[in-house]
Amino acid sequence: MSHGHSHDGAPCGGHHGDDGAGGSRPSVNDVQALVDQLRLAGVDVSNMPNIPTAPRDMDEARSKSFQFWSTQPVPQMDETVPADVNCAIEENIALDKVRAEPFSLPAGFRWSNVDLSDEEQLNELYNLLTRNYVEDDDSMFRFDYSADFLKWALQVPGFRPEWHCGVRADSNNRLLAFIGAVPQTVRVYDKTVNMVEINFLCVHKNLRSRRVAPVLIREITRRVNVTGIFQAAFTAGIVIPKPVSVCRYYHRSLNPRKLIDVRFSHLSAKMTMARTIKLYKLPEETATRNLREMKSTDVPQVFKLLTTSLKQYSLAPVYNSEEELAHALVPKKGVVYSYVAENQNGKITDFVSFYSLPSTVMGHTTHKTIYAAYLYYYVAGSVTPKQLINDSLILANREKFDVFNALDLMHNEKIFSDLKFGKGDGNLQYYLYNWKCADMKPSQIGLVLQ
């Protein structure tokens, strides 16, 4: 799977020194010499950084050519995979055949694992991911992954330091790019596959559009391959070959006044703020009376409950141990929130969780951050999913979240309109690397990636 192209058609724009550093020789005709020098150096327009456009929907993507992804083991954009196909695209490579040496970086750069247990490095990654956005872009919100969130998402049981893969500049040691992988067993239809989840791909803004992302993807692939894993799952807001499913975000206002103030949502001319506030108002108490915060001692029961429940979906995580599940779901303030309903016999019947991922509000005078809760895993046993999710709205509201987000996967779509969710403007595509299977409807998806 290491398709070792040394050059994937990158724009070769750039300046070549006119006559070498410091070595100016006297010239007869100054002006003429300058003209020549500048002509030589002046970069032809066709060589200017050729910034490709990122397709945001399937139609756009069908008409685009993918310099990088067309070299990778993924289905073609226009390919329809029949229902009986569910397998790897490329066979596993014998471990001694996997490329052993890292993909080379240009002089002046080096690979460097980011150790998230080290406060300083964790902070560097936090800054790269959250402080490093392109200015004067007209989008008003950015993800603001907290340091604790990053540790939770990346330091899962069995994580490998070399899968927290960074690139640094030699000159000043700055972290300029990152890609992360974590081990995760995933069931795709009837096959259970050891995979990694890929996340937090990021390139310093001043290095964008220079085909750095493909080097990172190749390198993380290599590092995963050497451990005998050849499949990956990931999500993205863009469309590349080829989504296994296209999901949509829905949003439920908890603090409508703030969301409207920061223009996260808007009022139509027929809607007053007063009425909006009234309509979104939630009760103080959950309808499920015995709902309480999940504890470590609940892990064995939740493990059984969730494992059984996930069987109904075509794409779902498989927790190999209670430890894995505990890491994902035992509450961590500011990161992940989980609740269980326990009956008189001490049996856990229902469970719901959400994680916290705030967004920075760009250029607003009073509000800097939107606190967003994202629906995570849940099992509605004794109550309806609708009641359970509504209860999680109440709990999120109690924790002072401004908005509750959910994708239209699992059973979510059926309850959105009753619970006053509004459709978002963003799709989230699900991808499998080196795997071919029939497309899935969002309701077949039971895997939630951060």
Binding site: H7, D30, F141, R210, H251, A269, T272, M273, A274, K423
Partner: protein, 274 residues
Amino acid sequence: MIIAWAVSSFQDHPKNENQEEEPIDTLLEAKFDAATTRLPGFLTKIDQKTILKFYGLYKQAVEGPADSKKGPYWFETVARKKFNSWLANSQMSRSRAMEAYCELMAQLDTSWDPDAETVKKSGLWEKMPSTMGVIEPEMFDDAVVHPPTKLETETEKKWFAAMRVSDIDTMRTLLRNEPEIIEAKDQYLAMTALLWATDLGCDPVVQFLIENNVDVNAVDGCLQTALHFAAQCHRPLLAELLLQAGADRSALDADGLTPSECCDDEDLRKKLTP
């Protein structure tokens, strides 16, 4: 890809020990590239001094600071002049030199729009939070949307539009031509500009309307006053303004509630209690 990555900004220029080497912004580089291709067309029209300025900035932008020990001899007049012009910029970062070059070019060539080069935004692959869009009454099952009984006139349309964006100047002009517009009701919910501005929190509009002697106790179809809206939307400042202008604390809406009874904010509730 490695070639491209390296060539575009990092290769072949001496490292400057004192300065943090920052990668150059892609868009700035595109702008700079475009500027350099424009210079040859101007060389015959500009003076020697300006040419030297361009030269100095160009070298600094492409190669970084000159090494003062490696310059040409003093008697090589022309070369020395060029070199000095380069040396003069040695404190500039490469990005700054590119910017300065572009600025100089923009002054020279007024028909050149440097920002045209930045139309293609980077950050295109960026993962961005989804946002929510417009909240319509139809999103809620208990919605009661009546078809408009009376359509807004063109002037009324302008009046409400200006109110929404707190465009006082336009409102003032409209009011001068048509004084009765101050109490005009919108076509959907039969609310005056004062009710809307209180509801939406357009503070300057409320101030402006009060200054122009608006009826502070005007009501909508549900008999709600501006104070009812300030109460429900937690707007203590506007409540204060309205009270000073004579708003009635004991006005009852269609449900028989006073503003304070519609308010679930402790402090504001106290302030509104008749």
